[in-house]
C-alpha cells in the first residue's frame, strides 16, 4: 500500500507497533496467558476459604485433643474460665450467650429502625430529603468500629446510667454492659439494614404500586401491605447480613461490653463475646503453642460457623429475591 495514503498516518503505525501482536498465534498466546492469570486470581478466593476452614478445623482438633479439654465440655459446658482459678473450664456457651445478647440488643434497635427508614426513603421521601439522609447513612457506614466503641464507652453507657438514675434513682447499668455495646453495634449495622432493604424495596416493579393505588390504597397501604411483602426475601436477606456483622463485631465489644464470661440473658450485665475473648488472648501475648492460644482458634471456629451459615442463608435469600424480579 502507498505509504502516503491517509490511513497510514504515523499515529496508526505507531499504535500498531505498540499494541497489536505481529501474528494471530502470538495474539492467541497472549490471550491464553491473560485468561490463565485472571483465572488464577479468581481461584485465590477459593484458596482463602479453604485456608480459613482447614486452619480453624486443624487447630480446633488440636484443642479438643488436649488432655484438659473434652468435646462434650466445649460444646455443652456452661462454664468458661480458661485463665482464672485452679481448674480451667472450656464450655463455650457463656461466650455464645454474650455474643447473642449484644447482637440481639443491636438487632432490636437496628432492624425496625433500618426497615422503617428504608420504607421512608424508598416510598415517601422527596428527593431533597433523600439527598440529606442518604449521605448521613453513608457516613455512619464509613465510621470505623473502634470509634463506635469509644462512643459506647463515653456517651451511650454514661447516658444510660444517667437516664436510669434520673428515672429509678439507681444507675442499674455498670460501666461495661451488653446494652451500651449492643446499641453501638445497632448504630453500626443500621446503614447496612437500611441500604440493603431500600435496594430490595426499589426493585419491586412500579406496576404493583400503581395497581394498589388504583384500588384506592393509601400510601401506607401500598408500602406496608404491598411493597414490603413483595420485597420480603430481600428485606430478610438484609437482616441476616446485618446480624452477621453484629455477631462478628470486635472493637465495640472489646471496649464497651466488659470481660466477664458468664451465662446470662440480662442485657444490663457485663458480658464477654467470642470476639472479645479472642482480643483478650491476643493482647495478652499468648505463646504460639498453648491451651489459651488453641482455645482462641476453637472459639474462632464457632464464630465462623455462626457467621458463615448466616451469610450463606442471607445470600441464598437475596438470590431468590433477585430471580423473582428479573
Amino acid at each position: 500500500m502507498n505509504t502516503s495514503a491517509p490511513t497510514d498516518a504515523p499515529g496508526v503505525i505507531e499504535a500498531a507497533r505498540r499494541g497489536v501482536p505481529r501474528s494471530a498465534e502470538s495474539r492467541d498466546a497472549r490471550e491464553r496467558l491473560i485468561r490463565g492469570l485472571l483465572q488464577l486470581s479468581a481461584l485465590f478466593s477459593i484458596g482463602i476459604t479453604a485456608a480459613i476452614i482447614l486452619t480453624l478445623a486443624w487447630e480446633t482438633v488440636n484443642f479438643i485433643a488436649l488432655p484438659e479439654v473434652s468435646l462434650a465440655d466445649f460444646l455443652l459446658g456452661t462454664n468458661w474460665s480458661p485463665l482464672l482459678g485452679a481448674e480451667q473450664h472450656f464450655g463455650v456457651w457463656p461466650l455464645v450467650s454474650g455474643t447473642m445478647l449484644v447482637a440481639g440488643v443491636g438487632a432490636a434497635f437496628a432492624l425496625p429502625v433500618g426497615l422503617v427508614s428504608a420504607i421512608y426513603l424508598s416510598e415517601y421521601a422527596r428527593p431533597g430529603v433523600r439527598a440529606t439522609l442518604k449521605p448521613a447513612l453513608e457516613v455512619l457506614a464509613g465510621v470505623p468500629t473502634v470509634v463506635y466503641g469509644f462512643f459506647a464507652l463515653t456517651v451511650i453507657t454514661p447516658g444510660l446510667r444517667w437516664l436510669c438514675t434520673a428515672l429509678f434513682g439507681v444507675p442499674i447499668f455498670p460501666g461495661y454492659n451488653a446494652t451500651g455495646a449492643g446499641l453501638a453495634v445497632g448504630v453500626m449495622i443500621l446503614p447496612i439494614v437500611c441500604s440493603l432493604s431500600e435496594d430490595a424495596l426499589r426493585a419491586v416493579p412500579r406496576g404493583l404500586r400503581e395497581g394498589a393505588f388504583a384500588l384506592g390504597g393509601t400510601r401506607f397501604d401500598v408500602s406496608v401491605r404491598v411493597v414490603v411483602p413483595a420485597a420480603l426475601s430481600g428485606i430478610l436477606a438484609s437482616f441476616f447480613l446485618a446480624i452477621t456483622r453484629a455477631v462478628g463485631e470486635t472493637m465495640i465489644v472489646a471496649l464497651a461490653a466488659g470481660g466477664l464470661a458468664h451465662l446470662t440473658v440480662n442485657p444490663a450485665s457485663e458480658v464477654q463475646t467470642m470476639t472479645a475473648y479472642m482480643v483478650q488472648i491476643f493482647l495478652g501475648d499468648a505463646p504460639a503453642f498453648g491451651v489459651e492460644n488453641l482455645s482462641s482458634y476453637a472459639v474462632a471456629a464457632v464464630l465462623f460457623v455462626f457467621t458463615f451459615s448466616l451469610t450463606v442463608a442471607g445470600n441464598a435469600l437475596l438470590r431468590r429475591f433477585q430471580e423473582e424480579y428479573e
Binding site: T49, G142, V147, R219, D221
Partner: protein, 332 residues
C-alpha cells in the same frame, strides 16, 4: 367507603409518616451526637488553646495564626498524655494501607474481570462468585487469625517467629525479606488484603456489569479479542465505578483494628516504619489502646486521634461520592 373508615385510614397513613420521619432522622441525630461528642472531647489535642485565646484577646485576625498543635502529629505515643502524639500509628497506617492496596487491587480487579468478562457459565465459576459473596460476611477478626497463622507464623514451616528468622537478600537493606515475615508491614498488608478483597471484587463486578453490552459487542465485532475489548473498552468505561469501590474498600482498611490486633502489632513503638519488613502500629489500634485506659486524659487523646481518622475517612468518602455523582451524570 364510609367517611369514618376513610378518616381512620388517612390518620393511619399520617401516623406512619410521622413515625418514619422520627426514626429516619434518628440516624442523623446519632451522627451529630457522635461527631459533637468526639470533637468536644478531642479538639484541645489538635488546637493550640493559647494561640486561640490570643486571637480572641486581640479581637481581630491580623494574620492567619498557626492554631494547630503540630506536636500531636510529630511525637510518638507516651505515658505522659500531654507529650503523646500519633506519629508512629499515622505513618504505620499509611504504610500498611498502601501495601494492602498494592496487593489487593490487581488481585481483586482481576478476579472481577474474570468472573464478569471471561468466565463461562460453569459450575466452578458460579461457585467462585458465590464464595466471594460469602467471604464478604466473614468477621475481620477471623481474617486476623488466618493472617497470624498463614503470614506472621507461616504455619510454623520456617520455625518460631520470635527466634532467628531466615533472612533473604542484603542484610541491612530495608527491602530484604525474612521468613516467616513476622509482625511486619507486609504481614499487616496481606491480612488487610484478605479483609477488603471481597469488597473490591464485588464493587468491581457491579461497575463492570453497568457497562452497556453494546460497547463490548461493537468492539468484538471490529475484530478485537476479548482481552483487548476488556482493556481498551470495558475497563476505561467502568473506571469511575471501580475507583469508587476501591476508595470505600481503602476506607475500610484504614479503619480496621481487629485483624491487626490479632496479627500482634505492638501497642507502643518509637520508630518510623522504613520498609515492608518494619514493625508498625496503626491509628485505630492506638485509639483502642488509649480509649481502653481509665484516665480521662487518654480518652481525650483517643478523641483527638479519632478526629484525625474521621477527617481522613470523610474526605475519602466525599471523593467516592463525588466520583459516583460524576459517573451518574455522565452515563444516563
Amino acid at each position: 367507603m364510609t367517611a369514618a373508615l376513610r378518616t381512620r385510614r388517612l390518620l393511619q397513613d399520617r401516623l406512619f409518616l410521622s413515625t418514619c420521619l422520627v426514626l429516619t432522622s434518628l440516624s442523623l441525630v446519632v451522627l451529630c451526637l457522635l461527631l459533637s461528642s468526639v470533637i468536644s472531647q478531642g479538639w484541645r489535642g489538635l488546637i493550640d488553646v493559647e494561640a486561640l485565646r490570643a486571637v480572641f484577646a486581640e479581637g481581630r485576625i491580623g494574620r492567619i495564626p498557626d492554631l494547630v498543635r503540630w506536636n500531636f502529629f510529630s511525637e510518638y505515643a507516651s505515658r505522659k498524655p500531654l507529650r503523646a502524639g500519633i506519629r508512629a500509628p499515622l505513618l504505620g497506617t499509611i504504610w500498611v494501607c498502601a501495601t494492602c492496596m498494592l496487593l489487593s487491587l490487581p488481585l481483586g480487579v482481576g478476579t472481577a474481570i474474570y468472573l464478569e468478562e471471561f468466565a463461562a457459565r460453569s459450575r466452578l465459576n458460579r461457585f467462585i462468585a458465590l464464595n466471594v459473596r460469602n467471604l464478604a460476611g466473614v468477621p475481620s477478626i477471623v481474617y486476623g487469625i488466618i493472617g497470624l497463622t498463614a503470614f506472621v507464623r507461616m504455619f510454623g514451616i520456617f520455625g518460631d517467629v520470635d527466634r532467628d528468622p531466615i533472612r533473604i537478600g542484603p542484610a541491612d537493606s530495608d527491602f530484604s525479606l525474612t521468613l516467616p515475615i513476622g509482625h511486619s508491614v507486609l504481614a499487616g498488608g496481606l491480612t488487610l488484603m484478605l479483609v477488603i478483597l471481597p469488597i473490591i471484587i464485588i464493587s468491581t463486578q457491579e461497575a463492570l456489569r453497568a457497562v452497556p453490552r453494546g460497547l463490548r459487542q461493537s468492539s468484538l465485532a471490529l475484530g478485537a479479542t476479548l482481552w483487548q475489548t476488556t482493556w481498551k473498552v470495558t475497563l476505561p468505561t467502568a473506571l469511575p465505578g471501580i475507583m469508587t469501590g476501591s476508595i470505600l474498600a481503602l476506607s475500610r482498611a484504614i479503619g480496621e483494628a481487629a485483624p491487626l490486633l490479632v496479627v500482634g502489632i505492638p501497642v507502643f513503638i518509637a520508630c518510623d516504619p522504613e520498609g515492608p519488613m518494619s514493625p508498625f502500629t496503626v491509628l485505630p489500634f492506638q485509639i483502642f489502646n488509649w480509649a481502653g485506659r481509665p484516665q480521662p486524659a487518654f480518652h481525650a487523646l483517643a478523641a483527638s486521634a479519632i478526629i484525625v481518622l474521621l477527617a481522613a475517612l470523610l474526605s475519602f468518602n466525599a471523593l467516592a461520592i463525588y466520583l459516583r455523582h460524576r459517573l451518574q451524570t455522565r452515563t444516563p
